[in-house]
């Protein structure tokens, strides 16, 4: 024992010593060093009452946009600027206040939650008595009493429980979402101390590592002083109860606190995920930069022109308009600089605060449509789609690569035991009749010849092995309507729970074959065999499963005293360790099953002599006691133990494809996405699933890049071979369409395995070469329609995603998965989607969006993604457009007002333009626009290609919108200019002033931009009507009101009756109508001509659906009417066609007869 004590003493820095009950260790054993640990207070709140305002302000102004507006506001405050600081201060104040209130409220909630957690009572054992304490006062070393259904207040080491075997059941639902009960074990030497008096008498210290965020790893050691003789025991994660988990099915436990407060594993896992940004946001930022340049450019040009123009002193300072003395004395450089700033302020509206607010609101509110979607609700799970971040809504419409997990994502992860094969004899439980499990079915079907007596022994051993070698728990009691039912042995009321559905399937399969696993009691596993006798095996050791070894083992002692090691695992990890057994037959069956798409496991055993067992025990306990590198040591020990196996047989479990998985994949393909399957499964199984899910089709030419091939050839040769194949095909394609068989060119599917992948990715010694490998690999992938990566470690999945993300086209990637092993790729991809599967909630928690089933991905991308993308792209383009329209006239006006920064519009208009006159229609558009019916989007995935590669936010389109904005601005400004030019406007001869001029431009502006949006709207619900016409009415009413009163709090009354006087003039009405028409004309013409001459698929479909509507819904009468109309129409057309001598139109007309 003393020796064990020395194992991990090399590094004290990384470990901590906990004295249970704060008792000093007995003198002479070790020094008592009181370490200081934080108390058990949880602080999730960001602010306190005092630092809220400064800290929150600081946080908010760290955003570039807010900072920019703050600067503009400050400039307005400091220097004499054309517009009052209110115009930019008010919106900024509004935005900042709303955000602050929201964040403050959230923080208040956090404070409340913190307080309720920190103040909730816990039971602590002090001096042999149970004392109530507030949770936050809990200290490391306290012994805590936790009762059933209570949550652990901090990370605890289980000392003893009410159960005799020292176990307790825990659910970690709030930590990782897994609702299954997990078993935790008390320290062997203290499990008997299960009253408060006894617990208080425990004298022990715990040494363990300092807190780490990994929930599933823990190493430590407890030294118990009995009669001053310390006994050291290893501690592992099976002893550690985590804060946040709940005690279940156990009356009470005693445990000692080791990590408290912010050092608990739960708190350490609170780290926020890194922010993902969508492509739209990136182009928005690019546009912003462009507009910032335009803004600065405009201000600069105007400043220069101002000084050129002012060179004549009579222009600079005519007798009627002199400067003040202080202004005159100011240095010219300072004057020029303030002028520049003043121009900046005048034009600053071109980058509106409100755009950020609108985009945020659009994203936040828009994401509700995903959650509300009835079609993405799963009846079976009772779950609907979850949106964890609304920042990426539009990215769903931009996906180019889909990386999907296989198990649980493409497949149900609903395992069903199909068959087993013992020494080449195949057993199929035929228990499924009309979809119902026959009660007590013990019969079996022997496909192969009946086994001999010797084989029968083997066979039973195989069944026992499967009944014993697992970590399945039996849920013993079930609550039905609040009444607790006792266990009904072997009846359907007890069921199995495990973290691995394969194991449940296997144990259930065994049950159907006659061997029922009953329970684990007092370290004895009980099995009901075919003769209805209970067999008891003492469970000695469990060599748990891990993804590196890909196998697990148990060591049991039978009643007869024989010791067995049972091992089950992947074929590749079992076969090399087998020394006897019918390897060839089993291997053939395994391969056959793998091709069928079944999941196979091999089972082997090894009889142990008691000496061997002693040796095993020694190996294991040594490894377990290590403080450092325990996992590595354990792995080594396992490696030594799991050898010399005798092969028993293999099992096959079917993982059925998810409903509509194939349809979904096909749709994604049609939508132009490349689908990659990344799985940890073996190649054959994975390939089978790929065929089943139509990822690979019959005519797909499969390229293999696997260890098998690289063993024969060097990686280098294989890669070059493949790339040549792919390129030759593509090159040949262009020259002559030789592939007449498939009609289309043969598409390629690539299969790569983890080992080869890491070889490809390995940063090579010869830098140039490895870089080449990656490039060649990417080149091959680019030309493959589907890629399957099998035998992947979780981290490799993320690596692949990263590799594609970083390739030169920078495609948008989406990762979808359901298990903890998919978390890394979900976090890495642009969009991470979690499936609410059976493997816990890790993926869902880390995802950006979560959906119940894989099939929901189709609607998520093709409908929601598409809509969100067109909505936000219009939102962004329109926002810039309407602000160009807004500000460019002001710019033009400078040329006519001596570059004096005179604003064209009144302050109220400047302030409210973006906030209220034009904000709601675009917000609503960006929430509910549907350019195409959603059923068509779903039916025709190719429409998704129309918006690929951020197509609606490309520079040409951006430039088009900007030019349109400039055109509208010019029409509005010069239209008004020529009307005002030296003439009277009214029928009573009175004249209008500059504010009427501005109001006229502004009125045309508001109407034009609103109508522009109305023309873009394809989906007019009553809300659209309400908002669009409503905001125009609001503008008119506001203007009437604003000009209708002498406002007492204003120091100017320049708008008094301006709007009404303008409306009383006939030419004003006429010119408003004219200018709006002229402003909208080019856009309408462009749209119509483009649609007619170069229609996109979307536009064709839009027109197409209209015909369909006539077809589908038109009553007989209207159809007839339409028919007559068409007939006449075609007649005239024919006449016209004959005139011009074109034959094309006739054809179309004939077709329309056909349709009708």
């Amino acid at each position: 024992v003393k020796c064990n004590f020395c194992v991990g003493e090399e590094n004290w820095v990384d470990s901590r010593t906990v004295y249970i009950g704060h008792k000093e260790p007995p003198a002479g054993t070790e020094a008592y060093i009181q370490q200081r640990f934080p108390d058990n207070r949880i602080v999730s709140s960001k602010y306190t009452f005092w630092n809220f305002i400064p800290k929150n302000m600081f946080e908010q102004f760290r955003r570039v946009a807010n900072f920019y507006f703050l600067i503009i506001f400050l400039v307005q405050l400091i220097i004499d600027t054309p517009t009052s600081p209110v115009t930019s201060g008010l919106p900024l104040f509004f935005v900042i206040t709303v955000t602050a209130i929201k964040q403050g409220y959230e923080d208040w909630l956090r404070h409340k939650a913190d307080n309720s957690v920190n103040q909730c009572p816990v039971h602590v054992v002090q001096h042999g008595k149970v004392v109530r304490k507030q949770s936050r006062k809990l200290r490391v070393g306290d012994v805590v009493l936790v009762k059933e259904d209570e949550t652990f207040p901090c990370d605890l080491i289980l000392l003893s429980s009410s159960r005799d075997d020292g176990t307790c059941f825990v659910t970690t639902a709030s930590l990782d979402g897994e609702s299954s009960h997990k078993t935790y074990y008390a320290v062997q030497d203290t499990k008997a101390y299960n009253t408060e008096k006894e617990v208080d008498s425990i004298h022990a210290t715990i040494e363990c590592e300092q807190p780490q965020p990994d929930l599933y790893k823990f190493v430590g050691r407890i030294s118990i002083y009995m009669d001053n003789e310390p006994v050291a025991r290893p501690l592992g994660s099976e002893n550690l109860l985590l804060r946040g988990a709940t005690l279940k099915n156990t009356e009470y436990i005693y445990a000692v606190a080791i990590y408290t407060g912010m050092e608990t594993k739960m708190a350490l896992n609170y780290q926020s995920k890194s922010q993902k940004r969508s492509a739209v946001e990136k182009s928005m930022n690019a546009y912003l930069v462009v507009y910032l340049c335009i803004l600065i450019g405009k201000a600069f040009i105007n400043t220069v022109l101002k000084y050129v123009w002012q060179a004549d002193p009579n222009r600079d300072e005519p007798w009627y308009n002199e400067r003040t003395e202080t202004e005159r004395q100011r240095h010219i450089v300072i004057r020029a600089f303030t002028d520049f700033l003043a121009f900046m302020v005048l034009f600053n509206y071109i980058i509106p605060v409100s755009m950020y607010v609108t985009v945020e609101m659009q994203k936040f509110l828009g994401s509700y449509f995903i959650m509300w979607d009835d079609e993405m609700f799963d009846e079976e799970l009772g779950e609907r789609a979850v949106v964890n971040t609304s920042d990426l809504n539009e990215e769903l419409g931009q996906v180019e690569y889909v990386f999907t997990d296989k198990t649980g994502t493409l497949t149900e992860n609903n395992m069903e035991f199909i068959e087993c094969c013992v020494d080449g004899h195949v057993y199929v439980p035929h228990v499924i009749c009309n979809g119902q499990v026959m009660p007590g079915a013990t019969s079996m079907d022997m496909i192969d010849t009946s086994p001999g007596p010797g084989a029968r022994e083997h066979e039973e051993l195989f069944f026992r092995a499967l009944c014993l070698c697992h970590t399945v728990q039996v849920k013993e009691e079930e609550t039905v309507d609040g009444i607790k039912h006792g266990i009904h042995q072997g009846k359907s009321t007890s069921f199995y729970i495990s973290s691995s559905p394969d194991e449940v399937a296997l144990v259930e399969g065994m049950k159907r074959l006659g061997f029922t696993y009953l329970r684990l009691k007092d370290s004895h596993m009980e099995i009901l065999n075919r003769e209805d006798e209970i067999e008891r095996f003492e469970l000695l050791e469990v060599l748990t499963f891990d993804s590196v070894r890909r196998r697990m083992s148990v060591i049991v002692r039978a009643n007869t005293g024989e010791l067995y090691l049972f091992c089950k695992g992947a074929d590749s990890s079992i076969f090399p360790r087998v020394i006897s057994g019918k390897v060839e037959q089993v291997r053939a069956r395994v391969e056959h099953n793998a091709v069928e798409g079944l999941r196979t496991l091999c089972v082997a055993y090894r009889p142990l002599s008691s000496e061997q067992y002693q040796q095993v025990c020694h190996l294991l306990s040594e490894a377990k006691l290590a403080l450092q590198d325990r996992d590595k040591r354990l792995a080594e020990a396992y490696d030594l133990i799991e050898t010399d196996l005798i092969l028993l047989g293999a099992t096959a479990v079917e993982d059925r494809l998810q409903e509509k998985a194939a349809d979904t994949i096909e749709s994604l393909h049609k939508a132009g996405m490349k689908v990659w399957v990344l799985t940890g499964d073996k190649m054959e199984t994975a390939a089978a699933t790929c065929y089943a899910s139509k990822l690979f089709r019959r005519n797909t030419q499969i390229l293999e890049l696997t260890t098998k091939r690289t063993e024969e050839q060097s990686l280098h040769d294989v890669l070059f071979d493949l790339s040549r194949t792919v390129l030759r095909q593509h090159g040949g394609m262009t020259r002559d369409n030789f592939s007449g068989l498939s009609g289309d060119f043969t598409d390629f599917g690539l299969i790569i395995d983890g080992a080869t992948l890491s070889a490809v990715m390995r940063p090579g010694q010869e830098d140039s070469n490895s870089g080449n490998y990656k490039e060649i690999f990417l080149e091959i992938c680019r030309n493959c329609s589907a890629v399957l990566c099998c035998r992947m470690a979780p981290l490799q999945k993320a690596q692949i995603v990263k590799l594609i993300k970083a390739s030169k086209e920078h495609p948008i990637t989406l990762a979808i998965g359901d298990g903890a092993n998919d978390v890394s790729m979900i976090l890495e991809a642009h969009v991470g989607i979690g499936i609410m599967g059976k493997e816990g909630r890790q993926a869902v928690r880390n995802s950006d969006y979560a959906i119940p089933k894989f099939k929901h991905l189709k609607k998520m991308l093709l409908v929601h993604g598409h809509y969100y993308y067109i909505r936000i792209s219009e939102l962004v383009q329109y926002f810039f457009y309407k602000n160009v329209c807004f500000i460019f006239p002001q710019f033009l006006y400078q040329f006519f007002c001596g570059f004096s920064q005179q604003p064209l519009y009144d302050t109220a208009y400047l302030t409210l333009y973006n906030i209220s006159f034009t904000s709601l229609p675009i917000l609503l558009y960006s929430l509910i626009e549907q350019h195409i019916n959603m059923d068509i989007l779903k039916k025709d995935p190719s429409l998704y290609r129309d918006i690929a590669k951020n197509s609606l936010l490309r520079w040409p389109i951006f430039i088009y919108w900007t030019i349109l904005g400039v055109y509208d601005a010019i029409v509005m400004f010069f239209g008004a200019y020529f009307l005002f030019d030296n003439t009277t406007f009214t029928s009573n001869g009175q004249m209008f002033g500059n504010w009427t001029f501005g109001t006229l431009v502004f009125t045309v502006l508001v109407f034009t931009v609103t109508f522009k949006l109305a023309l873009d709207t394809h989906y007019w619900t009553w809300i659209n009507h309400f908002v669009i016409w409503g905001s125009l009415i609001f503008f008119v009413v506001f203007s009437l009101l604003w000009g209708g009163i002498i406002w007492p709090f204003l120091n100017y009354q320049r708008m008094y009756y301006v709007f009404m006087q303008m409306l009383s003039s006939g030419p004003a009405w006429l010119s408003i109508i004219l200018l709006i028409t002229a402003g909208l004309l080019p856009d309408v013409v462009k749209k119509v001509i483009w649609r007619a001459l170069w229609p996109t698929t979307t536009e064709r479909i839009q027109v197409g659906t209209h015909t369909h509507i006539i077809e589908d819904y038109g009553s007989a009468k209207t159809t007839a009417a339409v028919f007559v109309f068409w007939k006449n129409y075609c007649k005239t057309k024919d006449r016209w066609v004959t005139k011009t001598g074109t034959g094309k139109a006739v054809h179309g007309c004939k077709w329309s007869y056909l349709v009708l």
Binding site: Y320, N321, W372, F377, Q930, F985, S987, I1089, A1092
Partner: protein, 374 residues
């Protein structure tokens, strides 16, 4: 809690009634509560009108716009052409112009006002009311420094603002320590030429033409926005303690001593000036020549003399001064632009309509025929 559950189950029932197709059977209450509401809004299936702009649908609109705009434009153009307008520049730049010496010898300090006369002939008689404008060019009434240099509170009759004008009026806020009323650059630069019009009949007798000085400012300006402090009586007393704007020859309460309701801040010439013009070339209404009863034209054709009391210097900033006589129609003064613009836009629409018709026939059908195999 129970209420909530009841509510949710009620909702579910209602939904079942509405959407018989949706299958919402099964599952416990917990499952139900997670099921999204099946409302048209939440499912994005609100009934909607889905218009699409195609050549076919837009065609009629273009023709209609063309057909409406062209007649309107013609009407406007004709109306504009029927308006009679006469303009005379009396700045006195040219050495031959009658006001040359007045313009040349202008001095702020001279007490003697310079008078010059401009002769002109109206070829055609002006029927109905004639509006007399003065026009200024190259005068930046819309300069920012100028526009804001006023105090609306003072002009509204606020006594405290009268004595303590707004800072915006600088440097025309105070003079010799006294507040200026009305303060600011706009008021200071009030147009103060006096224009008188005489008709010269065949035997060379000068008949003065009556010029109405009321009704030239907005009604609301005169009656609400501009007000004399403490009423219109005793303006001399009211404005005691203030001083006249530097460039004025007389204080504000002597703008029109003859009529109490046209004096002080509510003097219409002053109000008209205070409405700053939008562009550097502008005109402002000066007088109205009311139509006489009977059939005689307001201004018969013939010779006229315009007497100008030349007080307003514009040459220093290369400005021009004009006098404009104009009749007015329902659409205001002479402005061919609006009519031409209407005709142009209307014609473009019509033309585009034709182009679209061609495109519609040629291409839409081609696309449709291309769709047949699908």
């Amino acid at each position: 809690m129970i209420a909530a559950m009841m509510a949710s189950s009620y909702n579910a029932k209602e939904e079942d009634g509405h959407h018989s197709g949706s299958s919402s059977h099964g599952g416990a209450g917990a499952v139900k509560s997670k099921k999204p509401d099946n409302t048209a809004f939440k499912q994005q299936r609100l009934p909607a009108w889905q218009p699409i702009l195609t050549a076919g649908t837009v065609l009629p609109a273009f023709f209609v716009i063309g057909l409406i705009f062209i007649p309107i434009g013609i009407g406007l153009y004709v109306t504009s052409n029927n308006i009679k307008e006469f303009e005379v520049d009396y700045t006195g730049v040219d050495i031959n112009s009658p006001c040359y010496s007045c313009a040349k010898n202008f001095s702020w300090n001279s007490t003697q006002s310079c008078v010059c006369s401009v002769n002109f002939t109206l070829e055609q008689p002006f029927e109905s009311n004639v509006f007399m404008y003065y026009g200024l060019s190259n005068f930046y009434q819309n300069h920012r420094r100028y526009v804001k240099s006023r105090d609306d509170s003072q002009l509204n009759g606020d006594l405290s603002a009268l004595m303590n004008p707004s800072k915006e009026c600088e440097p025309y806020r105070t003079n010799d320590g006294l507040p200026i009323a009305p303060c600011g650059a706009i008021a200071n630069s009030l147009f103060n030429d006096t224009l008188d019009l005489y008709y010269v009949d065949s035997n060379s007798t000068k008949t003065p033409i009556p010029l109405a000085k009321k009704g030239i400012a907005w009604w609301t300006d005169k009656h609400v926005k501009f007000r004399n402090p403490s009423g219109n009586t005793n303006l001399t007393v009211t404005f005691q303690g203030t001083t006249k704007p530097v460039n004025w020859r007389k204080p504000v309460y002597e703008l029109d001593p003859s009529e109490a309701d046209n004096n002080g801040f509510i003097n219409e010439d002053f109000i008209v000036w205070m409405r700053t013009a939008a562009l550097p070339t502008f005109r402002k209404l000066y007088r109205i020549i009311q139509k006489k009863s009977g059939t005689t034209p307001t201004l018969p054709s013939g010779r006229y003399i315009l007497d100008i009391t030349y007080n307003y210097p514009v040459l220093s900033f290369d400005g021009r001064k004009r006098m404009i006589l104009s009749t007015i129609s329902w659409m205001g003064g002479k402005n061919p632009f609006l009519g031409i613009a209407y005709i142009t836009v209307g014609s473009i629409c019509f033309f585009l309509g034709v182009v679209l018709l061609i495109i519609h026939h040629k291409y839409d059908t081609r696309n449709n025929s291309a769709d047949i195999p699908n």
